[in-house]
Amino acid sequence: MLRNVFLKSLHDVRRAVLWWSIGLVSYVALIVGMWPTVRDNPAIAKLHETYPEELQAFISFGGAFDFGTPAGYLGAELFSLMVPLLLLVAAIGAGARALAGEEERGTLELLLANPVSRTRLALEKLAALSAEVAALAAVLFVALVVGCAAAGMDVSTSGLASATFGALLLALANGSIAFALGAATGHGALAIGLSAAAAVAAYLVNGLAPLVDAINSIRWLSPFYHYVAGDPLREGLSLPHAAVLVAIGVVAVAVGVAAFDRRDVGVSK
């Protein structure tokens, strides 16, 4: 289990992944469990449709806002905010911890006395955090498939897979930013703070874009837009949008790893 940096890093988070999984499954069970009530009371869907347009813009997930269909319900209740939020929190935390955590705890100094290049160390850490978040996304996906079947919700499995995968890509893009900031600065708190702020800004830009023209023109900058656009629950994954999310992650990692390779490490500042 401790054969290399990748496996060691997974070993470190095995308990955290377990608890996260329990939380995700419970949350999915709660939301899916409420579906029959929503379905049998058209008034609830009606109530949501009376929400102001501004609010609807935030809680709709791709396509039109229709609280009365299973896909619309899951989009509004899970995929518009809670799923990306939970995966983002996990990914940003893991990204910031990956290198900055070792550095702040002082273990990086001893780790780097071993014959492992900094680039390799960083990439193994990145692989581990990606695997960690992917495991959470997989748990989420399985919980959704099982939950939807149990609650008799008519949602396509490929739609659930696309939406979950999109959320994973969004989380990894932000996790990569946190990872890069941690790698470049050695400060975990700074990495979490800046990348969380960037994620909130991206969420707001995407939500406000339909309402404010000025913001609409920069909507393409928001990773959230590329996550939501294309209506993945109903239409499947949009490859161009997914490619943008991947590109954000790749650029962040490239910059972060290059900075990590060049700077002084392990010096208390």
């Binding site: 100094e109 001893l110 014959p115 060049r262 002084d264």
Partner: protein
Amino acid sequence: MKGLFRPTAAGSDKYKPGYRASGEIHRPCVRLGKGLVLSLSTDARHQLVLDHPDRHVPADHEAETAEHLALLHAVDIREDFSNPVGKGLVVGHGRRLDQRLRRIGDAVHVASVVQAHGLTKLYGSRTGVLDLAFAVTQGEVFGYLGPNGAGKTTTIRLMLDLIRPTKGRVELFGRDVRRDSVDVRRRLGYLPGDVRLYERLTGEQLVRYFASLRGLGDLREAHRLAGRFELDLDLPIRTLSRGNRQKVGIVQAFMHRPDLLVLDEPTSGLDPLMQQQFYDLLRETTSDGRTVFLSSHVLPEVQEIADRVAVIREGRLVLVESVEALRERAPARVEASFAEGPPAGAFADLPGVREIERRGTTIVFALEGRIDPLVKALARYEVRALDSHEADLEDVFLALYAERSTVAA
């Protein structure tokens, strides 16, 4: 085993590198042919010894071939031929030895395991270390001595490629630590000054993890070291005391039998018994021809285990010398009590003798060199008591520091 000297011309076996036994110590050497061996003593004297297989070289020995002559000329050691030492001729000694040997040029050279060239690290306007130049020779314990904050840890982190020099460079095994970082670290064992370990692992898990990173399958050495230091590797590291954490650090630094050990204040936290155990481990390490770079702020420690010592102060090297030479340089103290105080200046013209204190009829002398002239001079008066103390390195260092601060001020 890697030789201290090695032919630079590939395939040349004219000068065969190797080790030779001398007591329990294996001495790096070059075989010159015709039974002659040039070897470097690994005791503190750093003598270059020309040996014959019958362990005796006649004092009137003449270099047998033109090659030998050229070689000996290159090291500039002809003048010492009148100095037989039983098992060989001491043909040179002192700290410049490796440079002198390197002048042999194409034939052989002394492998410096660590070489710093104008190594400088500035933190903003604050100086970490400034223009360090030193070489650590294979098989020695190199003591790196200085007060806290003098730049010891900065130097070590530069050697490990954890931080990058502002100017200059450092080579380990003749390779740049930045460019060949991974290869260099393969042959290195490191014990940080403030060792931080993975709290949630056991000692065994940590050792296995690092062994895997090194591709080391055999953990017997690690377990042997743990046993030797009475360390229970099965305990979680978070439950270990400071001393036991230090032992885990020692185990991971030594377990792969690295060619170079870089140890930052290694005995801090160890009880005296374990310190002795650790010193024994260092002696075994160097007797294998492996090298130790050890930082310390404790003089007696360096005095006990180091062959050579470098002293760093405020980021600059103030001295690099063998411990033996330092000791020789240190003046002894001689305290003489007289029935009646001799007149002032009675001992003024004695060579190497300096009056440093006069209390009533007692005089304290600082003595460099032979004591005989002083004893003869003292005998002219009635001596009530005579006491002499061996040279104390502490005095040398205090003097050194005082001297430099005066210069700096």
